[in-house]
């Protein structure tokens, strides 16, 4: 099985502290990979490595290879192009201080797309995919920061989708939003996996169980186990995994 993303003995150090330790992981294409684990297990760090936003952290050292589409991300000529291929959704919803329309059109515009008709189509497409279109279609000039938390999170998703990324990463996307929106987004993800590879970091074990095709369990910077979701939950091969999925800790 060809991996869309491959981590090859990747270690990440913040000064003396190791956030990732010799982690190797393959992310298969067109699937949802769930990543679960307790706090401080390195899940967010792993996501940041995929699109190299780890570079923005002060004093960070990355060793090992990270391959996206077969290409080493630290050898790519243009890191911005890499980031455009990877959509990212954060824990806290962020609406840019622009109109809803401009929020979604931000990335395409920065790529030079100026044609109004094209942008209109793109904005509507993405907002529909993010299940936000019906709520904002009459108020596209509303300031993004004035939407509710759940709407802003879907707006973030729409922004991430506006460049038709190959990979979509979500980092605990549901912790700051209401359950209804969470369910909506989960439905969206089930649809999206036909088009792109999804990496879903979550602290809600049941969410991984619902959505992920494969699940990886991380603890203290190391990959403990990765397997098909059902197998990981029903018959984990590692004792720690078993304890975690049963709620004994974390």
């Amino acid at each position: 099985m060809d991996a869309h993303i491959r981590f090859d003995r990747v270690s990440v150090h913040y000064g003396a502290h190791a956030a990732l330790k010799e982690l190797s992981l393959d992310v298969p294409p067109r699937q949802i990979l769930g990543i679960i684990g307790p706090a401080k297990s390195g899940k967010t760090t792993l996501l940041k490595c995929i699109n190299r936003t780890i570079d923005f952290e002060a004093g960070v050292r990355v060793t090992g290879r990270i391959l996206v589409g077969g290409e080493d991300v630290y050898r790519s000529r243009n890191v911005h192009a890499l980031r455009r291929r990877v959509g990212m959704v954060f824990p806290l919803p962020v609406g840019l201080p622009l109109s809803v329309y401009d929020n979604v059109a931000y990335a395409p515009r920065s790529m030079g797309i100026r044609n109004r008709a094209e942008l209109d189509a793109l904005v509507e497409h993405c907002l529909r995919q993010a299940m936000l279109w019906d709520e904002v279609k009459d108020r596209l000039d509303l300031l993004g920061t004035r939407l509710s938390g759940g709407q802003q999170q879907r707006l973030t998703l729409a922004r991430a989708l506006s460049l038709r990324p190959e990979i979509l990463c979500l980092d605990e996307f549901s912790i700051a939003i209401d359950p209804v929106t969470t369910m909506k987004i989960e439905d969206i993800l089930r649809e999206l996996k036909n088009e792109m590879t999804i990496v879903l970091v979550t602290n809600l074990v049941q969410q991984a169980r619902r959505l992920a095709d494969r699940t990886a369990f991380m603890n203290a910077g190391q990959l403990v186990e990765v397997d098909e979701t059902e197998r990981l939950f029903e018959h984990p091969s590692n004792r720690i995994t078993e304890r975690y999925v049963n709620g004994d800790f974390g």
Binding site: G70, E71, R77, H80, A81, R85, M111, G112, A121, H125
Partner: protein, 335 residues
């Protein structure tokens, strides 16, 4: 719009990578895609490099300018060393007679003492008043009053030096004459009062920042133990904010030492060590301002004035450095 998801037309901007086709993953499409996907137009990328280069250059400019200031003042004063200038006299003699036909003397001790006296006296008045006002604004005033007072302090800070000098000459001077009977209103006292009024705003605003930085939990803890406002200020806030308050005072001192026009206009013109409040004095800054216009470029008097400028630069540099270290000291304490 119809129900089917419209395909995004990939027009002239070929930079949006098309949705990954199944076989695209097996070959390294990444590299080609990323090359095609760099900024839309080549010139946009160059333009960005240019502006970022400018940004970096301007960022470094502050260092450049400070160094340049030091350099250009130094370069005019430097030849003094080569021509056997009497530096000992410069620092220790009270005789400043640069234009004497018999033997020019360049002793700056009286000027230095003049600067220190005016500054010291001014701080004596400005620090208590400034801190008191800062405490009032920060702890006792609220809402509208607070805003108004802060605006008033800001506007006070905006009054230019030459206007303060004018006020000193025309308003304070006559008042001094009336109340003390001296013949001339421009003297040490006048200079100190004006300088105090000028330094207060900076002391107030920085002290107010320092007091604001003390966490509310300190105040709440003290109040819940039964302390009243006065005790909170005296026993809790001052010790907690003492570094910031000290920095405020130091910055006020730095400002006062460097003040030129106002002191030039109101401290009088006698170059002597003052023996009383009503004696006229001359400061280092006023000397430069008063005499540079009358010197010949390149002669000893000219160069000595630049040397005085160098001394001033060093003085204020040190004072500011100490204030900055004190502020950093707070930061590392609280980190």
């Amino acid at each position: 719009m119809s129900d089917s998801t419209p395909v995004v037309p990939v027009s002239g901007a070929q930079d949006i990578p098309p949705a990954a086709a199944p076989d695209a993953l097996s070959r390294p499409a990444g590299l080609r895609a990323s090359v095609a996907a760099s900024s839309p137009r080549r010139w946009a990328r160059w333009g960005e490099l240019l502006i970022e280069g400018l940004i970096y250059l301007c960022g470094w400019s502050a260092i450049l300018f400070v160094a340049a200031i030091f350099f250009f003042v130094f370069i005019e004063a430097a030849p003094l060393a080569a021509q056997g200038f009497d530096f000992v006299e410069f620092f220790t003699s009270v005789n400043w007679r640069p234009t004497s036909n018999v033997r020019p003397q360049f002793g700056t001790l009286a000027l230095l003492v003049g600067s220190l006296c005016v500054t010291g006296l001014a701080m004596l008045m400005a620090v208590p008043l400034g801190l008191g006002a800062a405490v009032y604004i920060s702890e006792f005033a609220s809402g509208r009053t607070k805003e108004v007072l802060k605006v008033v302090v800001e506007l006070l800070a905006a009054i230019p030096s030459v206007v303060w000098g004018f006020i000193g000459m025309m308003v304070i001077g006559p008042i001094i004459i009336r109340f003390t009977g001296t013949p001339v209103g421009v003297n040490l006292l006048n200079g100190s009062i004006i300088l105090a009024l000028m330094s207060v705003p900076i002391i107030v605003s920085i002290a107010e920042d320092a007091l604001k930085a003390v966490p509310d939990s300190y105040r709440e803890a003290a109040l819940s133990l039964g302390a009243n406002q006065w005790e909170v200020v005296y026993r809790v806030l001052f010790p907690a904010a003492k570094n910031g308050l000290l920095a405020a005072v130091l910055l006020g001192v730095g400002r006062a030492i460097g003040e030129t026009m106002a002191v030039l206009m109101v401290t009088g013109h006698a170059i002597q060590i003052p023996r009383g409040l009503l004696d006229p004095v001359r400061t280092l800054t006023a000397t430069i301002a008063a005499e540079l216009g009358e010197t010949v470029q390149g002669d000893t008097h000219f160069r000595t004035l630049f040397l005085i400028g160098l001394v001033l630069f060093a003085l204020t540099f040190i004072v500011n450095l100490i204030a900055d270290l004190i502020v950093k000291g707070i930061r590392s304490e609280n980190a």
